[in-house]
């Protein structure tokens, strides 16, 4: 527990001094210190061998020169330290906690209270998951890989009303294939091929780590550590992480089930269930089967939009009708029954108005509320991902007086509505709004035989199915 450096001054390569004031954390590769004025942190590496020191210096130089060009929330080097130190100065990330805090419940609090109130619930986790996947996508599209993803080098906003993810410890970023990475990741998140030493870290191994992080974020259990592994000796854990035990929710192999992972139906949409299956069944050994960060991001955003809130305990959950009574759904946390809320159900069609053909059933569902809901480009069109997908195309508002939902075109294109009575098409211009009675079909683009258009239908359980 040496604090040799505290109170000392270190200099960057431009000669600027920084006064160290206490240790924030230490890892295998170095120590991170507070800078006295509180806005910066200083990382000083502690690798011993000369060759490793030179490699690190080159890496930090590369990060310093290149991270600025990447549009991703990574805390990278702002300045490099001068000899004899190998390290860098970076911005202190305030108002954030390690991702780990979303995985370990606070003792003496009920699980429900911790998951739903203290950490914001399922919807917040899905949004944070989307932001994490987005950060990875930015990295990968720039040709970089993270290589040391773990719950300790991801930070999330402390305030449950805020949604922010920051990646730190950026000295494990690398350009795949460029240099042998100096450190391999933390086993829980490491891809099996790295643990078996047949591969070096790259963007596909990152995809495995991302899938594990997302699984743990939602289910509070590792996807490969089922009961038989957790109750067995530590050697089983090593084996499981190397891919020798099946996925805990493998449909074809139930030998590694888990009593301690939250059930799939409580936290996943069918799309997420499918992606996790791809990641941990085929994707364990076939790297290219793994879902990409882009796929994860979209699945998380759409899942977040399909949650509703339990009036009794405040949990967010997917409002699936219970068998026996289509009008009600049940909160998985407190078993409270609530009416299935009004939904906007999306699908894809092709053809002309008189001869429409459905292509894809239920590509997404948006849960409506009394407060305005945004329909974004990712719902309304194919091919709009990431930041582009966030653009708001329309708003759905509840008109209390007329007791009906209303749609407002806030985008830059025409929206078409087909009335159920006479199947006539009505054009909703930009800036205009109109009521949407039950059964109205909304089309976000012109209908044509040669293209696919997304459509949405309002489904209100109270008013009867359609």
């Amino acid at each position: 527990m040496s604090t040799k450096f505290s109170g000392n001054v270190v200099f960057d390569i431009k000669g600027k001094p920084y006064i160290l004031n206490g240790i924030i954390g230490r890892g295998a590769q170095g120590v991170v210190y507070n800078e006295q004025q509180g806005e910066l942190v200083i990382k000083i590496s502690s690798t011993a061998s000369l060759a490793q020191r030179e490699e690190l210096k080159r890496r930090y130089q590369w990060l310093y020169e290149n991270l600025g060009n990447i549009n991703a929330p990574i805390a990278g080097p702002l300045a490099l330290l001068a000899n004899p130190y190998i390290g860098y100065v970076m911005k202190r990330v305030k108002g954030h906690l390690p991702f780990t805090t979303l995985l370990i419940p606070t003792p003496d609090t009920s699980l429900g209270k911790w998951y739903n109130q203290e950490t914001g619930g399922l919807k917040r986790r899905l949004i944070l998951g989307a932001l994490l996947a987005r950060a990875f996508r930015s990295l990968h599209t720039s040709g970089l890989a993270y290589c040391d993803l773990s719950d300790t080098n991801i930070l999330v906003a402390k305030d449950v009303k805020k949604f922010s993810v920051v990646l730190i410890d950026s000295d494990n970023l690398s350009v795949p294939g460029l240099a042998e990475t100096l450190v391999l990741g933390t086993p829980l998140y490491m891809a099996p091929e790295i643990l078996c030493e047949t591969h070096q870290p790259d963007s596909l191994t990152d995809s495995h780590s991302l899938a594990v992080l997302l699984f743990m974020l939602l289910h509070l259990n590792h996807p490969l550590l089922g009961d038989v592994v957790q109750e067995g000796p530590p050697e089983f854990e090593e084996q499981a992480l190397q891919g020798n035990f099946p996925y805990i929710y493998d449909p074809a192999d139930s030998s590694n089930r888990s009593r301690t992972a939250l059930p799939l139906e409580a936290v996943c949409t069918s799309r997420l269930t499918e992606l996790f299956r791809r990641a941990f069944v085929e994707g364990l050994k076939n790297r290219t089967s793994r879902p990409t960060p882009g796929e994860w991001e979209e699945a998380c955003w759409l899942a977040a939009d399909s949650t509703t809130i339990c009036g009794n305990c405040g949990a967010s959950f997917y409002p699936r009708a219970i068998s026996g009574n289509k009008k009600f759904c049940q909160c998985p946390w407190c078993s409270n029954l609530i009416l299935v809320p009004a939904l906007m159900i999306f699908s894809e069609v092709t053809g002309e108005a008189s001869n429409l053909k459905k292509i894809d059933q239920n590509s997404s569902v948006i849960v409506l509320r009394s407060s305005p809901i945004a329909i974004k480009a990712r719902h309304a069109f194919r091919g709009f991902f990431g930041g582009e997908g966030d653009q708001i195309v329309a708003k759905i508002l509840w008109d209390q007086g007329k007791k009906s939902y209303e749609i407002e075109n806030t985008g830059s294109g025409l929206i078409y509505l087909m009335r159920p009575v006479d199947k006539s098409l009505f054009e909703l211009r930009e800036g205009k709004s109109t009521l949407i009675p039950n059964g109205t079909q909304i089309y976000f683009d012109k209908l044509s035989k040669s293209s696919v258009t997304r459509s949405a239908k309002l489904y209100d359980a109270e008013k009867g199915a359609e």
């Binding site: 780990t100 370990i104 003792p107 009920s110 719950d151 509070l220 067995g232 530590p234 409580a266 946390w333």
Partner: protein, 235 residues
């Protein structure tokens, strides 16, 4: 479903067993120093939260009698008893008891990581057979001593990380401590006073910390011992 009552997985135990000499010769500064060092260690270990493992602590004393003062318990629930010095030094009996505990799946669950074993002594074991009581005792001879041999050859005993501190100077039998550690790469530490005991326990805590956050708690290198003076490292 009623997920509010759902039980999550408990992290694997990372067990720490302390074998403490509480013989009469420990009276005074030595036992007080040990008590203080133990309290500090428990406080420091409590701070560690990790999904990879949870520290569990057990305390076995040998001083006249051999007692399990604290059975293996999660660190957050440990209430340290105050150690008192009295009696002779049945170290062999303590080794034997430890071996039995390590082999008992009810006391040390199968799912636990390999334990860290810490031996604290200020003198000579009094329950050695006659042939081990002469001056020319070596590490090799002690390795053949039944209770220690049994500990070293047991499945869990073999995998455990062993650390030892000798409190005092000339009265301490460092050969038995080295035989206990049984690893040429790990020095036995000499502590001359309460401060030395504290320093040893700091280092032991770091060892436990580094295992608990390590990539693989069962294969972790020990933290450096640069804080110890060269004469306090007994190799």
């Amino acid at each position: 479903m009623n997920l509010d009552k759902f039980d999550l997985a408990k992290p694997r135990p990372l067990p720490v067993f302390i074998l403490a000499d509480t013989s009469g010769s420990m009276k005074g500064e030595k036992i007080e120093g040990l008590n203080a060092a133990l309290r500090e260690m428990v406080a420091a270990l409590r701070e560690q939260t990790d999904i990879r493992g949870e520290i569990h602590l057990a305390l076995i004393t040998f001083g006249g009698a051999i007692k399990v003062l604290q059975p293996l318990t999660p660190i957050t629930e440990v209430i340290l008893p105050e150690l008192r010095a009295n009696g002779n030094t049945p170290m062999g009996g303590a080794f034997f008891l430890l071996k039995q505990i390590l082999e008992d799946n009810n006391q040390l669950p199968v799912r636990a990581y390999a334990p860290t074993l810490i031996l604290v002594s200020d003198g000579e074991p009094t329950d050695t057979p006659p042939e081990l009581k002469d001056e020319t005792n070596t590490v090799e001879k002690f390795l053949e001593w039944e209770p220690l041999k049994a500990l070293h050859t047991s499945t869990i005993g073999k995998k455990s990380i062993k650390l030892a501190v000798g409190i005092g100077r000339d009265e301490v039998n460092f050969e038995i401590l080295k035989a206990f550690v049984n690893n040429p790469d790990t020095p036995v530490i000499r502590a001359e006073d309460a401060r030395g005991i504290t320093k040893f326990f700091h280092w032991a805590t770091m060892t436990i910390f580094s295992r608990s956050v390590s990539r693989n708690p069962d294969h972790t290198a020990l933290p450096p011992w640069d804080d110890f003076k060269i004469e306090d490292l007994v190799i």
